[in-house]
């Protein structure tokens, strides 16, 4: 039995718009903590982690940890039928093959039930270790979206470098190059317009712009975006969802030297008859 009532239904709509381009099918996990999702894109380069904490829901009932496999495109189709001010309730029965989205208009004069079929999805859950990032950049989300969009007209990849001076986004393409530097700027009228850079050590990493652009679909969720960078770690692009949670995107960096070949770990336990070559 599952019943989650979200007064600010538009949040869920926005969350779906933010992730559905990156991931087609995913398991939503429900536990006492909250409503969450973790999924990779088909080429296993980017990962989206969503959390909506239970406290953020007006009513949250989830008897045991369950997961619901959904096609995000279909889910988005259904949520598009909800008005922006509607209250959305997600309902599911044990052993049922469907999930129900109930939309209530603010003045309670219209109630709509949309029932969606669930899917069996085999997905791997990745453990994301807590990490201390070398640099954390907080900036207006619209600004970040604009930068990604602009740079992708010039090149395919973006180099994000954080130094004492600020954060630099640069790209290179057939027609030329582009560099955008954002400096730390805390003296603004509104706190959400500030650009704050916390840097322990300078860092510079390269990413595919295609994915970055896809992340910026989450811009409507939050006025600010937080980008965390460390060498040899995927970048984290985080959008807060009101006071109740976040959408985090992880993206594996481009590797400069493509002849760095890791020896692949093989899953075999028993079948191995021969020793591994040590001097690979």
């Amino acid at each position: 039995m599952l019943e989650l009532r979200l007064v600010q239904g538009s949040l869920l709509k926005k969350v779906l718009e933010a992730v559905k381009d990156l991931v087609t099918d995913a398991n939503f996990d429900c536990s006492a903590t909250g409503f969450s999702l973790q999924a990779m894109d088909s080429s296993h380069v980017a990962l989206v982690a969503l959390l909506l904490r239970s406290e953020g829901f007006e009513h949250y009932r989830c008897d045991r940890n369950i997961s619901m496999g959904m096609n995000l495109n279909n889910m988005s189709k259904m949520l598009k039928c909800a008005g922006n001010d509607d209250i959305i309730t997600i309902k599911g029965d044990d052993g049922s093959d469907t999930v129900t989205f109930m939309f209530e208009s603010p003045n309670q004069d219209k109630i709509a039930d949309f029932e969606m079929k669930l899917m069996d999805i085999d997905s791997e859950h990745l453990g994301i270790p807590e990490a201390e990032y070398h640099a954390i950049v907080k900036m207006p989300s619209t600004e970040f979206a604009r930068i990604c969009k602009d740079l992708s007209t010039i090149g395919d990849t973006v180099v994000i470098s954080v130094t004492k001076e600020g954060v630099k986004f640069s790209t290179r393409g057939d027609i030329g190059t582009a560099n955008i530097v954002c400096r730390q700027n805390t003296s603004v009228d509104k706190p959400e317009e500030a650009t704050v850079i916390e840097m322990k050590e300078p860092v510079s990493l390269t990413f595919a712009l295609r994915y970055m652009n896809s992340f910026t679909k989450a811009t409507p969720l939050s006025t600010t975006v937080v980008i965390s960078l460390s060498p040899e770690l995927p970048v984290v692009v985080e959008y807060k969802v009101a006071e109740m949670g976040y959408v985090r995107f992880y993206l594996a960096p481009k590797i400069e030297d493509d002849e760095v070949d890791e020896v692949v770990e093989q899953p075999s336990k028993k079948s191995k008859a021969q020793p591994k070559d040590e001097d690979d």
Partner: protein, 412 residues
């Protein structure tokens, strides 16, 4: 070719050992491919109409080059790193099978001649496909092409399949891609089918993991090899009357072919005379492969544009525009291959949630027959568990066969 009926046997008895994967998800991975097998497929399929095939000005067949070129580019474009493995000398034991194939080819050649006389196009095509033989020249052509493209190749001392498996075991490649189930018997830890099917077919890649298969079949690798020999392999005959299911039962019961031979009814099952199952087993278990690092240098190099144009356009009559475009694609793919994978940073962990939807019903969206089935199931459940509402103790967990933590009654 391969092991008879093994796919079905595994699908029935070890479904967890096989997994459907998206083609894109192999991005960045090194994959070993049996080249000779691919060449054979190309010679059969690419650019064929009747007995006519793609040829260059001198009338030499170029279907294999066309096929190899296009397929490799497709793999590279998706960020995969193919490693082609070529056959060496066949093991003695396979000679019998090869002789059979040879005589079939001779038959087909005769049939073809008579078909050409009668002029029945379908029959001509059928038999001309059967006369296909991969020659040394085809192999050499492809090796040269791949080298010019900067794709690594490995020349196996004997069977390419065995070498592929050895590469995979030592972790030099991520998986072996083939349509031939032999790879599993040679012990390739990860084996992919349908990887090279055209994308238009939309067939998902089927990934087999030997360790999981053995776990589910509840046998060890040696027994698995025996099972494959019993099912029927390239190296020796099998026992008439014993198919996959029986073989699995016997292997589970007696543990090895020796013990099976002692115990089964010899009247009912005819065991071939001088049955060389031990040699076959030896070939699977300790095939002749290169282990040495020097012989196995897997290195991608930048494509040789001039060389490719010279070889494909000047020598084999390919269209210059197409080749230049393809070279651009290879170069672009090179750039893409430098993208890291998330799994190299984050490791999979067990997920402790149970799906709301019960597994096993396999209700895909828009499949009416399956939908009906799942409805029937839910009716059954509502009979078994009366308390589906608040406060009850529903015991419908037995219906669930999901990943973990199932079978424990939960409080609703």
């Amino acid at each position: 070719m391969g092991i008879k009926g093994l796919t079905k046997l595994l699908a029935d008895n070890a479904p967890k050992g096989m997994k459907e994967q998206k083609f894109e998800s192999y991005f960045g991975r090194k994959i070993a491919i049996d080249a000779s097998m691919s060449i054979y497929q190309f010679l059969i399929v690419v650019g064929r109409s009747g007995t006519e095939m793609l040829t260059n000005e001198d009338g030499e067949v170029t279907s294999h080059l066309q096929g190899m070129f296009n397929r490799t580019i497709r793999l590279l474009e998706s960020g995969l790193k193919p490693v082609y493995v070529f056959d060496g000398a066949p093991p003695d034991l396979k000679k019998e099978e090869l002789a059979k194939r040879y005589s079939k080819r001779v038959d087909a050649t005769e049939d073809l001649a008579s078909a050409i006389e009668t002029g029945d196009k379908e029959v001509i095509e059928k038999f001309s496909k059967r006369t296909v033989k991969v020659t040394r020249k085809h192999n050499e052509d492809c090796k040269r092409l791949l080298q010019l493209m900067g794709v690594p190749i490995v020349e196996a001392p004997s069977e390419a399949e065995a070498q592929c498996a050895a590469l995979c075991k030592s972790g030099k490649v991520y998986a072996v891609a083939s349509e031939d189930m032999d790879s599993l018997t040679f012990g390739a830890p990860r084996f992919l089918r349908h990887l090279m099917d055209p994308s238009s077919k939309k067939v998902p890649v089927m990934e087999f993991e030997v360790a999981k298969i053995l776990e589910e079949l509840n046998i060890n690798m040696d027994q698995f090899i025996d099972l494959c020999i019993l099912c029927g392999c390239d190296y020796c005959d099998s026992i008439r009357g014993i198919g996959g299911q029986t073989a699995l039962k016997l292997v589970r019961q007696y543990g090895s072919i020796e013990s099976i031979l002692e115990n089964i009814n010899k009247e009912r099952f005819q065991i071939p005379e001088n049955w060389p199952y031990q040699q076959a087993r030896h070939l699977f278990k300790e095939p002749l492969v290169f282990e040495n690092d020097e012989q196995l240098e897997i290195k991608c190099t930048p494509p040789d544009e001039e060389g490719l144009v010279n070889f494909l356009v000047n020598e084999n009559g390919f269209n210059l525009d197409r080749v230049t475009k393809a070279v651009e694609k290879i170069k672009a793919a090179k750039n893409k291959a430098s993208q890291g994978r998330l799994e190299s940073f984050f490791k999979p962990v067990a997920n402790a949630t149970t799906p709301l939807k019960r597994k096993g019903t396999r209700c895909m969206i828009g499949a009416p027959t399956l939908l009906l089935k799942s409805k029937m199931l839910s009716i059954r459940i509502s009979i078994y568990s009366r308390h589906r509402q608040f406060g009850g103790l529903p015991l419908l967990c037995t219906e669930q066969s999901g990943a973990s933590l199932h079978g424990v009654p939960f409080l609703a």
